[in-house]
Structure formats: structure tokens, C-alpha cells
């Protein structure tokens, strides 16, 4: 299936939006305007964008502690995202969630999640909901290599396989879980190998190649919509930055490894692809796209700063729905 140049440029735009949004979030975090913790997705944008561009708005996804990329890729509003990071009442969670808990149920984004492997059972329930709704909807779970060693992975895969639930389990294998390497923590070289133990397809894909990710995800989506059940997709990728943006954050990764992966940057790669073979993006267009994105991010920050903090007593709201 051809991916039109328009669609490729749209993917590029989303990837670059993730990057610029997070660069800014990191700056503002270090400056003290954003609190708690910020985990950047930078370097892994091709995964979220490749997968989400294979979905419809009605399809649902769930994310991790490293969630901004999935939000943007699924179509979240930068203003409300940034306002949430800034802890304002206009944020997605009215300031109650922060970076680790942005959700937008209207666009099928079922939330970032601060618990490693916390999303797997939840999204499997969304997959069950989609199956019961009978409208061909699909549910997608993003999670890390670290999460893949936790029990909920196993339970979810087995149940989804049993019931042929329309779910994509997308493991973002960025080779590290904090300071522990996948080589130490995962007993096999490829997490996708584990799919065979559930009797479902396991696919390995270059997670820095957005077009390949899109192709693999589209196939899995088609299978899911056709009632053929879940797929485990392992995207080999890498984070460019440390685990969090905390100035004191440690980093156990070898500098050479980091350097080697920086050269495989997914955005550079798509730009080269569009500029090269296809000649579908000239330097000026790319510059303009980037400027536009920078403006959008800037406007999001302005929106956040112009928004009020919640009233202190609002802490008592939303414990229960009524």
C-alpha cells in the first residue's frame, strides 16, 4: 500500500511537533515552570506516528510514562497538553495529572500511565469493548522493553489471543529501562519472539523508519479489524535523552551507543527520504513546516501561561463522578 507524499509530510509534521513540543517542555521544566518529572520521547517519534497514522480517530490507544509522543500522534491539542504540564485549569486534566497522566478520551487517547506495564490490561479491556461494540474498532498499547518483563504483559497477551481481541501490542524497545539494559533484563534478543508462545504474530520492525512502522501497523490493524486477533509488534528504537529531564538523572548508556543511534534519527531519515528519491520536500518547505511547528508550540506555551491555576479547593473535586 502506497503512502502518499501528503501523508508522509503529515507524518513528518507530527514527528517534528513531538520533538519541538518536548524540547520546549524540557526547557520549561528545567526553568521551573513545569513540575514533577518529564520523560522525553525524542528519538522514538516514528513509532507513535507510524502506528497512529494507521488508525482512525475512533480507535483507541494507551500510553506510558513517556506519553507526549502518543498524545500528539493521536491528535491531541498542544495547548491543553502544555497547559496540563504547566498545572493550569485549562489542561487536559485540569492540572490534576501532569506529564505522566495526559488523556483525551474524545480522541481515543486513554491516557499516559505512570506504572510500568500499567496500560496492558486497560487497553485489553478497550479491545474487548471494541469487539463488543462490533464496529471494527481497534485498540493499541504502547509499552517499553522494561514493561515486557512484567506479569501483566503475559496475562493480556494470553487473553487477547484467546478471545481474538482487536489489539496491537506495540513494544517500544529502546534498549533501556532507566539504567538497566534490555540485554540484562530480557532473556531473549527479540521480545517479538514471545508472540509465538501465545499463538499470535510477532513482528520486528525498525522503529526509526516511520514508513515501515506504518506498514507493519497497517497490516496488524487490518488483521484486528478482520477479527483475526492481536499482534505483537516490536519496534527497535532509542531515546536520544536520559530517562527523565531531571538535571540529576543518571545515564548508564555507553556514549558510543548513543552516538550511533543519533545517526539513525527518524526525523532526519524521513526528511532525507522525502527530499531525496522523491523530491517531495525542499529545504524551504521543510523550514516553513518547522517554523509553523515552533509557532504552534510557542502558542501552546502562551496559552498555558495565560491560563489560571486551578483554585486550591478544586483538589476536592473529581474524586467521584456523580
Amino acid at each position: 500500500m502506497e503512502i502518499t507524499p501528503e501523508k508522509q509530510r503529515e507524518m513528518l509534521r507530527l514527528m517534528q511537533t513531538i520533538r519541538r513540543f518536548e524540547e520546549r517542555a524540557s526547557d520549561d521544566y528545567v526553568a521551573g515552570d513545569i513540575h514533577g518529572v518529564v520523560h522525553c520521547y525524542i528519538g522514538e517519534e516514528a513509532v507513535a506516528v507510524g502506528v497512529c497514522s494507521a488508525l482512525e480517530r475512533e480507535d483507541r490507544i494507551i500510553s506510558t510514562h513517556r506519553g507526549h509522543g502518543h498524545c500528539v500522534a493521536k491528535g491531541a491539542d498542544l495547548n491543553r497538553m502544555m497547559a496540563e504540564l504547566y498545572g493550569r485549569e485549562t489542561g487536559y486534566c485540569k492540572g490534576k495529572g501532569g506529564s505522566m497522566h495526559i488523556a483525551d478520551f474524545n480522541i481515543g487517547m486513554l491516557g499516559a500511565n505512570g506504572i510500568v506495564c500499567g496500560g496492558l490490561s486497560i487497553i485489553t479491556g478497550a479491545g474487548l469493548a471494541a469487539q463488543m461494540e462490533g464496529k471494527g474498532g481497534v485498540a493499541v498499547c504502547f509499552f517499553g522493553d522494561g514493561a515486557s518483563s512484567a506479569g501483566p504483559f503475559h496475562e493480556a497477551m494470553n487473553i487477547a489471543a484467546n478471545w481474538k481481541l482487536p489489539v496491537l501490542y506495540v513494544v517500544e524497545n529502546n534498549l533501556w529501562a532507566m539504567d538497566t539494559s534490555a540485554a540484562e533484563a530480557v532473556s531473549v534478543a527479540d521480545i517479538a519472539t514471545r508472540a509465538a508462545g501465545y499463538g499470535i504474530p510477532g513482528v520486528i520492525v525498525d522503529g526509526n523508519d516511520v514508513l515501515e512502522v506504518h506498514r507493519v501497523a497497517s497490516e496488524a490493524v487490518a488483521r484486528a479489524r478482520a477479527g483475526e486477533g492481536p499482534t505483537l509488534i516490536e519496534c527497535k528504537t532509542y531515546r536520544h535523552r536520559r530517562h527523565t529531564e531531571r538535571p540529576t538523572q543518571s545515564d548508564a548508556r555507553p556514549p558510543e551507543e548513543i552516538a550511533a543511534w543519533m545517526k539513525k534519527d527518524p526525523i532526519d531519515r524521513l526528511v532525507a527520504h522525502l527530499q531525496g528519491q522523491q523530491g517531495q520536500l525542499n529545504e524551504a518547505e521543510w523550514g516553513a513546516m518547522n517554523d509553523e511547528i515552533m509557532n504552534e508550540v510557542e502558542r501552546a506555551v502562551e496559552f498555558a501561561k495565560a491560563s489560571a491555576f486551578p483554585k486550591p479547593e478544586a483538589a476536592l473535586d473529581d474524586v467521584f463522578a456523580d
Partner: protein, 318 residues
């Protein structure tokens, strides 16, 4: 009025609510036969033994517009699902700023007396009370369990129904007509003026039995059944104690940081009620030990009508 068992009353609640609302579905290991027969295996699913997955799946399905019922069966088995309960279900509505509802019923049997030893004899509701964001019911009669379960299924929040093992075969009046009981309303199971016993679940009946004995001794006991643990109807309890001046809390759980401690504190920390207290409040609870297997040991551990009566006499003597 017809008499049915506590278990039957619970099943009726489920059946009626599943008929009433297509979005209600049921997950558990070994789906209950009557529900499978009526609603089929798509709405009443037997699952692998993976209560953590079921508990989390309920959250996802609820966020997509369904009203899942997850029967953990014994409360013991929900501890494999505790991450989904503590870190997800109880917090998700709040931390997402209230943007979506998560109507879920989790169900668990609690209590002992069945010679099933420590792992299978637990009453850990207070563990969930310290969390914010979960409602909890603990019904003591067939009438209450049916009416509260129906409200719980209709509630737009995660609700846990703790149902006493000892009460499963207990019979009581349940009308044919539809009814519901709102969450958060205590029920005065017996009026009296000398001492208030706040009793939970099975101990409501033990307290009522103790009250009979004590009546013969000239002590007039009021028995209050909170029925709902969260939200707790503190005002009904406090009003009773302001009237009687004395408080016993009877619970099948151990006392330490238990529902009994919470109830006692709700009473004593209220200055108006404190001012009416004529004696120190007293907990009549299980001994603070894991539950042993051997009948002689197990019977020694649990409170019962005699221990409640003894507690009342002690409080009256103060």
C-alpha cells in the same frame, strides 16, 4: 414476603441489571452458570486465572462506555490485581480531571469461619478505605445486598462489593418488586438507648443476638449497620452514640487500622459526640493474627455474640 438467600439476592441484582442495561457484562474465572445460561458467553465470560488482567480490563471497558462487573470471588484473589485497583481504578477519574466515568463493580467474598486458613479467610476492606476514589459496600442481609448491588452497578464509579462468606446461605425477606438502596446510608437494625453497637456484615446478626441476651439483663442495645463503608454515614452513627453515650464496634476483621478504628475515630473526633460519651469506645474484632485452620483456633480468633455481649457489659461498667 418471600424469603431468599443472600447469594440468591445477589444473583437477582445481577440478573435484573443485566436485563435492564446492555452495557453491563460480567468477567470471572468460571462464569456463574445462571448468568451464562441467560446472557450467553459473550456477556458472561469465563476467564483465565488472571484477576489482575480482569481488573484492568474493566477500567478500559468502562472508559469506553461499558459497565463491567468483575467477580474476584474471594477477596484473597484480588491482591494479584492490587496495582490495577490502587494505582489505576481508584485514581483514574481524578487524575484525568474527571473527563470520563469509570462505572465498575468489583465483587469479593470476605470473612472466615470456613476452616480455610489464612490465605482464604480475609476481611481486608479497610485496606481499600484508606484509598480515595473507591466506593465500598458491605451488606448484611439479602434485602440489603440486592438493593445495594443494584445501586452499585448503576453508580458511575468503581464500587467494591464485599460480601460475607458466612452470609451466603442466610435467608431474609426480599420483595418481588424492584427497589434500590442508595449508597452511603447506614441502617439502624435495632433501636436502643443504652449502648450503640456498630456492627459489620455477619456481625450485625451476632450483635442482634447479643442484644437479645443483654435485653434480658436490662441493657437496651442499638445496632447500627453502616452497610456502605465508603461513603460512610458518619452522621447516623454519631447520632446514635449521642443518644446512647456508648460505642462498641464489632468487625470480623482485625482491629489495627481497620474499619473499626475508622468508625471509632469518626465518633470520638466529633466534639459534639465526644461530649456525649460516657465510656471509652471498644472494638470487638478478630484477634490481630492471620486466620488459623484448626476449628479450635479459628473459633478463638473471631468475635461472636458472646464476645460482643461481654464487650457491652464492660463498656456499661465504665
Amino acid at each position: 414476603m418471600r424469603q431468599i438467600t443472600y447469594a440468591q439476592a445477589g444473583l437477582e441484582a445481577f440478573t435484573e441489571e443485566m436485563r435492564r442495561d446492555d452495557t453491563v457484562f460480567h468477567l470471572s474465572t468460571d462464569g456463574p452458570k445462571p448468568l451464562v445460561d441467560e446472557f450467553g458467553t459473550s456477556r458472561v465470560r469465563s476467564t483465565p486465572i488472571a484477576e489482575g488482567a480482569l481488573t484492568g480490563m474493566a477500567i478500559g471497558a468502562a472508559g469506553c462506555g461499558f459497565r463491567p462487573i468483575i467477580d474476584w470471588r474471594m477477596v484473597t484473589f484480588c491482591f494479584v490485581a492490587m496495582d490495577q485497583i490502587v494505582n489505576q481504578a481508584s485514581k483514574i477519574h481524578y487524575m484525568f480531571g474527571g473527563q470520563t466515568k469509570f462505572p465498575i463493580l468489583y465483587r469479593a467474598s470476605v470473612g472466615g469461619g470456613t476452616r480455610l486458613a489464612a490465605q482464604h479467610s480475609q476481611s481486608p476492606y479497610s485496606m481499600f478505605m484508606n484509598l480515595a476514589g473507591l466506593k465500598m459496600i458491605l451488606p448484611s442481609t439479602p434485602y440489603d445486598v440486592k438493593g445495594l448491588l443494584k445501586s452499585a452497578i448503576r453508580d458511575d464509579n468503581p464500587v467494591i462489593s464485599f460480601e460475607s462468606t458466612r452470609l451466603q446461605t442466610f435467608e431474609g425477606e426480599v420483595p418481588d418488586e424492584e427497589y434500590t438502596i442508595p449508597l452511603g446510608q447506614a441502617d439502624i437494625k435495632r433501636e436502643g438507648k443504652d449502648v450503640t453497637i456498630v456492627a459489620l456484615a455477619w456481625l450485625v446478626h451476632e450483635a442482634l443476638a447479643a442484644a437479645e441476651t443483654l435485653a434480658a439483663e436490662g441493657i437496651d442495645v442499638e445496632v447500627v449497620d453502616p452497610r456502605t463503608l465508603v461513603p460512610m454515614d458518619a452522621e447516623t452513627i454519631r447520632a446514635s452514640v449521642r443518644k446512647t453515650g456508648r460505642l462498641i464496634v464489632a468487625d470480623e476483621a482485625g482491629p489495627t487500622a481497620g474499619a473499626s478504628a475508622e468508625i471509632a475515630t469518626l465518633v470520638t473526633e466529633d466534639p459534639a459526640t465526644f461530649a456525649c460519651l460516657k465510656a471509652a469506645p471498644k472494638r470487638v474484632c478478630a484477634l490481630q493474627v492471620p486466620i488459623p485452620y484448626s476449628p479450635v483456633l479459628e473459633d478463638h480468633v473471631f468475635p461472636d455474640r458472646d464476645k460482643i455481649a461481654a464487650g457491652v457489659r464492660a463498656v456499661m461498667a465504665n
